[in-house]
């Protein structure tokens, strides 16, 4: 099979991926956790766990719960912080062979800009992914993603601070109009959009009469949210002209092709990595064969080709 390189270009910046299958932030650790299970360089790109300037301890336990065809999480963005990431994690990643994308989280546009600036000055990072949509952290996250004005402000702050580094903005499905937010981010200079983050939800235990998560509310992910994600990608790709990366419940190569059919340029595999540690590797490897099975000769030909 030929090369499957994917080029994402928007607002004057470009990110080149090995192939269309990336890993989703928070489900693949720092990538290093998965080296026993596959070759990181065989992935389209690696998106690392959400990073903040300073280390964060995250939410109390329990933080995860299994739900029908999915899971809830309220990890609360526990991460090692910028310094530790640059010193201990990044150097061990094969960043010459696979694009390493850093998902970043902050509590104000100024802090976003500071972190983006530090990351842009660091060797080995291919792109930034701005988490404006995390539903877990009360003081920031969700509010940026819920207002078009705030989303644009954060996007602009990161774009201005990051030199020529491509900037992906990760959208939340927990909004009234995702296309309005998408257009605001495009207008503020985003290179591409990642679509979607988790869907807010909760679970309860009838026996103990307690919530399944200590945080009560968490983010739903996995196959359960795939139809929501497909709908969001479909709407967003028709509303903007920058590329869109589809995320949500992808666990087979067929799922990847479905997202591309509705308009995505690439995808990220999330919860499937938690279910089985070789999921992303297996999906990336099987994609050419699956395309062949469905008579698809190129992704460009399939992309956005939904017949209505």
């Amino acid at each position: 099979m030929g090369k499957q390189r994917i080029t994402l270009s928007g607002n004057g910046r470009t990110l080149v991926l090995n192939n269309p299958v990336l890993t989703a932030s928070g489900t693949f650790g720092y990538g290093l956790e998965y080296t026993p299970f596959g070759n990181l360089a065989s992935l389209g790109g690696i998106v690392a766990k959400g990073l903040s300037l300073l280390p964060r301890q995250g939410n109390p336990m329990p933080r995860i719960a299994e739900t029908p065809s999915g899971m809830l999480n309220a990890v609360g963005l526990q991460n090692c912080g910028f310094d530790e990431f640059v010193k201990r994690k990044l150097p061990k990643l094969p960043h010459k062979d696979v694009p390493v994308i850093v998902n970043l989280y902050a509590t104000s546009p100024a802090e976003f800009a500071e972190l983006a600036g530090k990351l842009a000055a660091t060797e080995g990072i291919a792109a930034l992914e701005v988490n404006i949509s995390c539903p877990n952290v009360k003081e920031g996250g969700s509010s940026f993603g819920q207002s078009a004005t705030m989303a644009a402000k954060v996007t602009e702050a990161v774009v201005n601070a990051s030199g020529t580094l491509p900037v992906l903005v990760k959208l939340s499905p927990n909004v009234t109009s995702i296309t309005e937010i998408a257009k605001a981010c495009e207008g503020a200079g985003a290179t591409a959009l990642s679509c979607i983050n988790t869907v807010t939800g909760m679970g309860v235990d009838l026996q103990s009469k307690r919530p399944l998560l200590a945080n009560v509310i968490g983010g739903l992910s996995g196959p359960a949210i795939k139809p929501i994600a497909l709908r969001c990608v479909w709407e967003v790709t028709r509303a903007v002209s920058i590329p869109v990366i589809g995320i949500g419940g992808i666990s087979t190569p067929e799922d990847v092709l479905e997202f591309i059919l509705v308009g995505a340029s690439a995808v990220q595999v999330g919860t499937a990595n938690i279910a089985l540690p070789d999921a992303a590797f297996r999906i990336a490897e099987a994609l050419p064969h699956t395309m062949h099975k469905y008579g698809i000769s190129s992704l460009d030909e399939l992309r956005g080709g939904l017949k209505i």
Partner: protein, 278 residues
């Protein structure tokens, strides 16, 4: 320690323990052995049933009860959604296995070592006792709720000095707890080592005695897990890495800020009693 691998393994057989006549609650699952280079006692595996992708998202963690060139044995209790499905496995069925995962239970050849097991917590001690270089230095107190033949006790008893204690009543339980404390005190005097595996309330009791009598004690935790490989951060426990074995009297083990959220799956599941918050 060697890297974990993911492999598909075949069910060799599934042996119910105990002859209650009803559906067996405790079973030994024997699988074809994964191509592991080495394992340490106290490590665990993640098992995932194939073909039920939609319903149960995650694999499930189980202690490595015994591993030989011929088989990998898991001893489990059918208590929830997946373990009840596992109780229906048949020879020839294939399941996903990733391991060996986690850290090791401490092995010290010449140290008198006390094993404390509560119920299903006996599982990792089978491998521990069979691979210990000086099993005559080991002794075990085993608290259990169901008849003894529900557990792999015999295979342990032939290797080490092990005593079973049935816990049917509150008095039984209190007697067992008092015995554990006495045995831990003995091991404190002998500069020994204590290893405990069982339900969380049981581990809390052991932890209290460990701090009170200042005896080096490792606790094998059973935290709910997602990935098993350190990535999802769903299995963290609070660990005070710098806490010393002998904390100042009547103070909390460690001040809040000094705790770190560490993954049970990669930094554990075996933690020192004076470092972990249960």
């Amino acid at each position: 320690m060697s890297y974990p691998i993911l492999s598909k393994e075949t069910v060799l057989d599934l042996v119910p323990f105990g002859n209650s006549g009803q559906e067996a609650e405790f079973l030994a699952l024997r699988l074809s052995p994964p191509a592991w280079k080495e394992i340490a006692p106290g490590q665990f595996v993640m098992l995932r049933l194939s073909g039920n992708h939609g319903n149960h998202i995650w694999g499930r963690p189980f202690s490595i009860c015994r591993v030989t060139p011929r088989d990998l044995v898991i001893f489990f209790q059918a208590r929830g959604r997946v373990t009840k499905e596992m109780a229906k496995l048949r020879p020839g069925d294939v399941i996903d296995v990733w391991g060996p995962l986690g850290n090791s239970l401490r092995v010290e050849k010449d140290t008198p070592t006390l094993l404390l097991a509560g119920g299903i917590g006996i599982a990792p001690f089978v491998e521990y006792a069979h691979t210990h270089p000086a099993p005559w230095n080991l002794s075990m107190e085993f608290g259990h709720r169901l008849p003894l033949d529900c557990y792999p006790f015999d295979s342990l008893n032939e290797k080490i000095d092990a005593a079973p204690h049935r816990e049917n009543t509150v008095e039984d339980r209190d007697r067992f707890i008092a015995l554990m404390e006495k045995r831990m005190q003995e091991h404190a005097k002998a500069k020994g080592l204590v290893l405990a595996c069982g339900p969380t309330p049981f581990l809390r009791t052991v932890q209290t005695f460990a701090l009170k009598h200042k005896v080096r004690t490792q606790l094998a935790l059973e935290t709910r897990m997602g990935c098993g490989v350190g990535a999802c951060l769903g299995c963290v426990v609070q660990v005070a890495l710098k806490a010393s074995l002998i904390p100042p009297a009547d103070s909390p083990v460690c001040k809040g800020e000094e705790y770190h959220n560490l993954q049970t799956c990669t930094c554990g599941p075996n933690f020192w009693a004076h470092q972990v918050k249960l």
